[in-house]
Symmetry: C2
Subunit: 262 residues, 2 copies
């Protein structure tokens, strides 16, 4: 994976111009990357409340003012209409377009929700010496829809999606404490040990991503996943919604370490 | 201070009937007590966003569904219209009434916001062996309006209000870590040491509450205060608002210890 160690403020113009058009892994290492969901003001109250009620899958990092594409809290001067490499446009809950700039789609009533992502806590895990096989193999983390219901809010409801990482049993406690320090990036695991308790019938067949095996001496650990809010929002078929394309995140000016709760 | 050690579920009927009509300090020790602000749905989005943007002064514990007086997340079966000892009714930002039951004032468009309060972190401080002089003296904690601006959200904006506790210097670090574990109850201090940096000109003259002195060997420590959201909401003169009366809190079924972040 190529690493671009420039400050996000220096990387953003290259994303805006299209020079950088791929996934954002490896860009601005050490800075918080976020998922994005953009909804009209009419849907924003229910979605904001849904996130407040389900902080593990939906850790809110920033909510923009109505109509403003500037995330002044985490990246003043940035423009969310141009500064992500790739976007998806949904109409009535159906994918309508995939674009590299959403200026033509922006409206005065839109609110952007930026949500913490697993990059931050995976950095914390690796920093604590915990190996992550999907990172070593350069493939996607495995994800499942579970039998854990999110607490509903207005029109939004649905199951929690989790990601799974196999962790050597002597490192389970460290993996809990290292990730728990980052509630803004899904925090502590929601389950440790038995996939069946989450309603997962075949651990070798994820709903999304790549299964990397569970070796002898490893425990499957499950964290709430940022796929949840998008899946929940789309399930309610909002008339209009913009999201980042998978892997094509927004890079904030906030260092990972400043997101630590303690 | 008389202590009523019954479970909040057993205390609530006595509050509802008027048998218990005073302040809630000492009732259901060990359970989270919360501030309440009730606003119409039209103001709820801005207030929810204000809380999301200012989690230290406005730690959201629960937001009810529109029109519902039941806080199903923290006290299923309770009724927020009757289960607080005393309420204040505000019209256009002006105190219009003080009552013991708000059934006659309830509307289908109301949303109740329950916010963590200092009782929880004061319990954590005392549990860690840290003396609190205002508790020992049975008086009110001292509070100040500061020069720290909250991040605005829609119609809501204003300065942060803080409470001050004088702490022996050898216990400052412990007071930080003990309170930081409870972000749902204002969390870590926002300032330690110099009142002038917060714009406080005379530390002996609080804006609210009682000054208890700062002795030699003590450091003034400042925590974000739950007076902030009420002051901010009232400053915007909402057409209608219900709050708890000072000290007359709602007692949840949530043990203080389960609010710990780590």
């Amino acid at each position: 994976m190529p690493i671009d160690t420039r400050h996000p403020r220096e990387i953003r113009p290259d994303i805006r111009s299209g020079k950088l058009a791929g996934v954002t892994a490896g860009l601005g290492p050490g800075f918080v990357q976020v998922n994005m969901a953009v909804l009209p003001r009419d849907d924003a109250y229910d979605f904001l409340l849904f996130c407040q009620r389900n902080p593990r899958p939906c850790p809110l990092i920033e909510v923009t003012d109505v109509g403003s594409p500037e995330p002044i809290g985490v990246a003043p001067g940035a423009d969310l209409r141009t500064d992500l490499p790739r976007y998806r446009i949904y109409k009535d809950g159906v994918l309508a377009d995939e674009v590299t700039d959403v200026k033509a789609f922006w409206r005065d009533d839109l609110v952007a929700f930026l949500l913490g992502c697993s990059f931050t806590f995976e950095w914390a895990l690796m920093d604590a010496g915990i190996p992550l096989r999907h990172v070593d193999r350069g493939c996607n983390v495995s994800m499942w829809k579970t039998n854990l219901a999110c607490r509903p809010a207005g029109r939004f409801h649905g199951p929690m999606v989790v990601s799974m990482r196999p962790i050597p049993y002597q490192m389970v406690a460290k993996a809990v404490t290292a990730s728990a320090r980052f509630p803004g990036a899904h925090g502590a695991p929601v389950h440790v040990g038995d996939p069946a308790h989450l309603g997962i019938k075949d651990i070798s067949k994820p709903d999304w991503g790549d299964f990397v095996g569970i070796e002898a001496g490893e425990v499957p650990m499950f964290w709430a996943c940022g796929v949840t809010p998008q899946a929940v929002a789309l399930a309610s078929k909002p008339a209009f919604m913009i999201t980042h394309s998978p892997g094509h995140m927004f890079i904030t000016d906030v260092p990972n370490s400043t997101l630590a709760a303690l």
